[in-house]
């Protein structure tokens, strides 16, 4: 029998019992709809976290102070800080795989200037810093290599700092005091928002690392060294290279542990998204239960339908339908029903997640693959739960089926 005819016959018999078909499909509609909404919520959460991680910069590698062992007990990361400006400069000089390297000296201090004062994070960095962080200045400019070399007292304010000290005004050219040292503001950073852990990334002041070391922190040690590669593919090789240079710089013997830690952005992203991934899977798994329940509903109705239509099956067989024709017919009916339910569920799911996003302000994102998955899964449900009733129909004896009252 032609496929077109099969579809026509299936639609005909499905439409003969509209209410029943509708209710049966409802199970699949709810199942598919629920899966899509859940996946949309999970994906949305993941997307926002990824976006935040991305705000760190592109292809960023972090070199952080290592941990110290005291009598066999690890004291945790950062307890043994041997990162120095020399390390950063050596990495910058020798690494061939990196596109940018910047030391980061971190300190907190009170900033005085404009309308008041503000306690904030001061980062002493090199000119590569903005490249690594994929950041730009909104007004003014960043300090130059010359400024770094000559330890000029120039500062670039984060958006939050600028807003608090100079509300409504342009701070470029103004004087601020970091601690008690006067600095000239030469630029304001573009707004970057929160990072993955919810900290305001704009609450910062950037100064040349040389100046920071000499005038502000007094530390010789660095908070971290940031570096970046041109492409994500280059990251593993770059990490290896950095490790070699750092070990050499720290004169570590063959068997000595690293006294620093190298992390890349992907690891951070993976760590952050693994939680939401688990959540997404969990939500989808719960939602799929309703899909299975919907499938059982289809099976139930198909079984009823086979019993109810025993005579019809007998007639079809008497006039020449093979068992396989009957099997196909019932299978197609259940697939048509479940796929139709799946498509409606898809629409409901898209609408539902959009509505939910609108009402709650959550970020919801339905991946395009959800369409294929929803339709594929509902078809699979149709086949799986339709097969048994269809086989039952096909196995009927035509004589008994014809006599069935």
């Amino acid at each position: 029998m032609k496929q077109q005819t099969l579809l026509k016959l299936a639609s005909q018999s499905i439409l003969k019992n509209k209410m029943r078909t509708l209710l049966t499909m409802l199970g699949i509609v709810i199942g598919v709809g629920a899966v899509i909404v859940m996946v949309a919520i999970g994906n949305g959460a993941q997307a926002s976290i990824q976006a935040q991680i991305k705000s760190l910069g592109t292809n960023v590698i972090m070199i952080m102070p290592g941990s110290m062992q005291q009598g066999g007990a690890s004291q945790g990361a950062g307890t043994f800080n041997r990162l120095t400006v020399d390390d950063a400069e050596k990495v910058k000089r020798e690494a061939t795989t990196l596109s940018a390297v910047s030391p980061v000296i971190m300190t907190r201090t009170q900033v005085i200037g404009g309308n008041g004062n503000w306690r904030t994070q001061i980062n002493g960095v090199s000119t590569d810093y903005l490249t690594i962080r994929d950041w730009s200045v909104a007004s003014g400019s960043l300090f130059s290599d010359n400024d770094v070399k000559s330890m000029r007292k120039v500062a670039v304010l984060g958006a939050t700092v600028a807003e608090n000290l100079f509300p409504g005004g342009d701070p470029v050219g103004a004087q601020v005091q970091l601690g008690h040292v006067p600095f000239q503001v030469i630029g304001v950073l573009a707004k970057k928002g929160q990072n993955a852990t919810g900290n305001d990334q704009d609450d910062v002041v950037l100064v040349p690392y040389t100046t920071a070391q000499a005038r502000l922190s007094g530390f010789v040690r660095l908070g971290q060294i940031l570096a970046s590669t041109d492409s994500p593919d280059g990251m593993p090789a770059a990490q290896e290279e950095i490790r070699g240079i750092m070990r050499e710089s720290h004169k570590l013997g063959e068997y000595a542990d690293d006294d620093f830690t190298i992390r890349n952005q992907d690891e951070l992203a993976d760590a952050a998204s693994s939680t939401t991934k688990v959540m997404t899977y969990l939500l989808a798994a719960i939602a799929s239960v309703s899909l299975v329940v919907g499938g059982i509903g289809i099976m139930n109705i198909m079984l009823v339908s086979v019993t109810e239509r025993t005579r019809e099956i007998g007639i079809r067989m008497a006039i020449g339908a093979r068992g396989s024709d009957v099997l196909t017919q019932f299978l197609v009916e259940s697939i048509v029903m479940s796929v139709a339910g799946g498509v409606i569920g898809l629409i409901v799911g898209f609408g539902g997640s959009a509505l939910l996003g609108h009402l709650t302000g959550w970020n919801t994102a339905t991946p395009p693959s959800a369409v294929a998955i929803a339709v594929g899964f509902s078809a699979a449900v149709g086949v799986f739960f339709g097969y048994y009733p269809a086989r039952k129909a096909a196995a009927l004896n035509p004589i008994q089926a014809l006599r069935y009252e």
């Binding site: 016959l9 020449g320 093979r322």
Partner: protein
């Protein structure tokens, strides 16, 4: 009439057909060795009371069931050992069924009902299925009722749709199982008139019935009792259903048409 029948090619030839049903340890022989030949152009009535084995015979002749023993050739090819699928194809291509309860698909138009056998056709020779279905319905005088559903048709009309469905594949043999069983006497005669008309056009028809009145319209009567053929004889005073119909319509008061007594006596 019988001479003519004896010269036609055999459509059905069965020899020594038995059918034994097993229920637990009991064996019930429904057919105990039947030989029967039906030739092209015959209108045969198979008669028998319930339990006589006529339904079993009908099922075997209709390729719905296979004999326990014996041979059956339909239209020249042996069918007693065919698989389920092959039997289904034979039913589709060579047989047309008319049932007592009409057995039309409910909530399905006459045209769709008649088209149905063509949809199961595997020979690929029947392309314009809708046109063929329409022609078959016109053939039985229902050209005006194509889009009516069974519930909108009278019993006689429903049986005509069923006959159109049986004819649409141009079968070698039309099998009718108690075709008048659910019809009043007037409609019964109408349906028999249609059968006679189709038979006159050369279609071989086999009717299973327990009504002697109905059998009188056939060219030959085969009586089955206890799983065996008891009598097999041509109908000498064969009645003309179309003429009966005219008489009934002319004389609605009288239940029995004038020539009926004569026919029954024969």
């Amino acid at each position: 009439m019988s001479n003519e029948a004896n010269t036609g090619t055999p459509v059905i030839e069965i020899h020594g057909v038995t059918k034994i049903y097993k229920t637990g340890s009991n064996e019930v022989a429904a057919l105990k060795g039947i030989d029967l030949t039906v030739r092209q152009g015959e209108l045969v009535a198979i008669m028998g009371s319930s339990g006589s084995g006529k339904s079993t015979l009908m099922n075997i002749l209709g390729c719905l069931d296979v004999p326990t023993e014996g041979s059956y050739s339909l239209d020249g090819s042996r069918v007693e050992k065919l698989s389920k699928n092959e039997l289904a194809d034979i039913r589709n291509q060579k047989l047309g069924f008319v049932f007592q309860g009409f057995n039309l698909l409910a909530r399905t138009t006459a045209l769709d009902n008649v088209e149905l056998p063509l949809l199961y056709d595997r020979t690929g020779t029947k392309k314009n299925t809708r046109e063929l279905a329409k022609q078959a319905l016109e053939h039985v005088g229902l050209g005006e009722r194509l889009d009516h559903q069974p519930s909108e048709l009278s019993g006689g009309q429903q049986q005509r749709v069923a006959i159109a469905r049986a004819l649409v594949t141009e079968p070698r043999l039309l099998l009718a199982d108690e075709p008048t069983g659910n019809l009043d006497s007037h409609t019964s005669v109408e349906v028999m008139a249609l059968f006679q008309e189709l038979n006159a056009q050369g279609i071989t028809i086999l009717i299973v019935t327990h009504e002697p009145d109905v059998a009188q319209y056939a060219t030959r009567i085969v009586e089955v009792r206890d799983g065996r053929i008891r009598r097999d004889h041509p109908v000498e005073l064969r009645r003309d259903a179309a003429a009966d119909l005219r008489n009934i319509d002319a004389d609605v008061v009288s239940d029995v048409p004038a020539d009926r007594t004569g026919a029954e006596a024969a």
